[in-house]
C-alpha cells in the first residue's frame, strides 16, 4: 500500500481529523527537531521549538495555502521560531557583532583548501552510519554561529540569498561571504575525516596574498 500523500492528510486534518494531523507530525517531527537542533545547538531549545512549531501549525492549519509542501511550511515555522530564540539569547550583542564583522573584505581570512582528496564513501553511506553522522554534526557545531545559520538556511533549507539575508537581518554580501566560509570550513573538516589519504592532492602553489 502506498502511503497517503501529505496533502491528503492535510485536507483530512483541516476537516477536523486530529489523527491525520498526528500522522503528519509522525512523518515530519524528526526533520523539524533535527533542523531546530542544528540551528540552536541545544536539546532543550530544540524541543521547545519543535513543540511550538507543531502547535502553531495545528492552530493555523487553515492558513496553510498548500503552495509549498507541508514539510517546507513546518520547516519555515521552525526556522523563524529558532531565530527568535537566538536573537533573544544574543540581545543587543547581535547588532554590535554585525557591525564588527560586516566588512566584505573578510575574503582575506577565507580559509584555503588544504586537505584535498576524493572521499572514500558516498554522502548516502556517510549519513546512514552513527559514527560518521556524529562527526558531520560536530563539524557543523564548530562553525561560528552566523556561518552555521547561513549554511543551514541557504544550503539545507534552500532559501535564496535574499531570503537568508532578510531572515538573519544581515546584508546579502555578508550572506555570501559567510556561506563560502561555512562551505570551505565544512569541506576541510569532512575531507580530513572522509578523504582518502592515498589520493590526496597538493593544492596549487599561488602567491595569492602578495598582489595587493
Amino acid at each position: 500500500m502506498t502511503p497517503e500523500p501529505d496533502l491528503e492528510l492535510v485536507h483530512r486534518a483541516k476537516a477536523g481529523e486530529l489523527a491525520a494531523f498526528e500522522q503528519l507530525v509522525n512523518r515530519h517531527e524528526r526533520q523539524v527537531y533535527s533542523l531546530a537542533f542544528r540551528l540552536l545547538q541545544n536539546q532543550h531549545d530544540a524541543e521547545d521549538i519543535t513543540q511550538q512549531t507543531f502547535l502553531n501549525a495545528l492552530e493555523h492549519l487553515n492558513r496553510f495555502r498548500e503552495e509549498s509542501s507541508f514539510a517546507t511550511w513546518v520547516s519555515r515555522i521552525a526556522t523563524y521560531g529558532a531565530l527568535k530564540v537566538i536573537r533573544k539569547r544574543r540581545g543587543l550583542e547581535w547588532v554590535s557583532l554585525e557591525a564588527a564583522t560586516e566588512p566584505a573584505d573578510d575574503r582575506h581570512a577565507m580559509p584555503h583548501p588544504e586537505f584535498i582528496a576524493d572521499w572514500r564513501q558516498s554522502p548516502e553511506e556517510l549519513v546512514n552510519r552513527n559514527e560518521t553522522r556524529r562527526l558531520i554534526e560536530a563539524a557543523l557545531g564548530q562553525l561560528e554561529e552566523k556561518s552555521r545559520l547561513v549554511f543551514l538556511l541557504r544550503d539545507v533549507e534552500g532559501l535564496s540569498v535574499r531570503e537568508t539575508a532578510q531572515a538573519l537581518g544581515i546584508s546579502e554580501v555578508n550572506v555570501k561571504v559567510r556561506l563560502l566560509r561555512a562551505r570551505l570550513q565544512l569541506r576541510e573538516q569532512l575531507t580530513q575525516a572522509f578523504g582518502d589519504p592515498t589520493r590526496r592532492l597538493a593544492p596549487h602553489q599561488h602567491e595569492s596574498m602578495d598582489h595587493e
Binding site: G16, L58, E67, W73, R183, H204
Partner: protein
C-alpha cells in the same frame, strides 16, 4: 584563470549562478586542475550530506510530551481558523 579566481567564484559556480561565458572559463580551468575539481566535488558532497541528514531522533519522553500537547491544544481549539491570532506566533506564509 588561477585557483584563487576559482575560489572567489566558487559559491556562484556551485549554485549555478555564473554567466555562461565565465562558466566556460571556469570549466576550462577545472578540466586542467584536478585539485580544484576535487574541491568542487567535495563541496557538492558536503551540501548533499547535510541536506540528506535528519540526524537527531526525538527523545522518547519528549515525543510523548509533544503528542500530549497536541491533544490538549486540539481540545481547546479544535479547528484551525477560529483560533485567535497572535502576531508573535503566526507562521510565515507558505508561498
Amino acid at each position: 584563470m588561477k585557483c584563487d579566481d576559482l575560489l572567489a567564484l566558487l559559491n556562484d559556480y556551485v549554485d549555478g549562478d555564473v554567466a555562461p561565458a565565465l562558466c566556460a572559463e571556469l570549466e576550462h580551468h577545472l578540466a586542467g586542475c584536478n585539485p580544484c575539481q576535487v574541491v568542487v566535488d567535495n563541496i557538492r558532497q558536503t551540501i548533499t550530506l547535510y541536506k540528506a541528514g535528519e540526524p537527531y531522533p526525538l527523545p522518547l519522553e519528549f515525543r510523548n510530551r509533544l503528542h500530549a500537547a497536541l491533544h490538549e491544544r486540539w481540545q481547546h481549539a479544535p479547528t484551525g481558523d477560529s483560533a485567535p491570532t497572535r502576531a508573535s506566533t503566526e507562521p510565515p506564509p507558505d508561498s
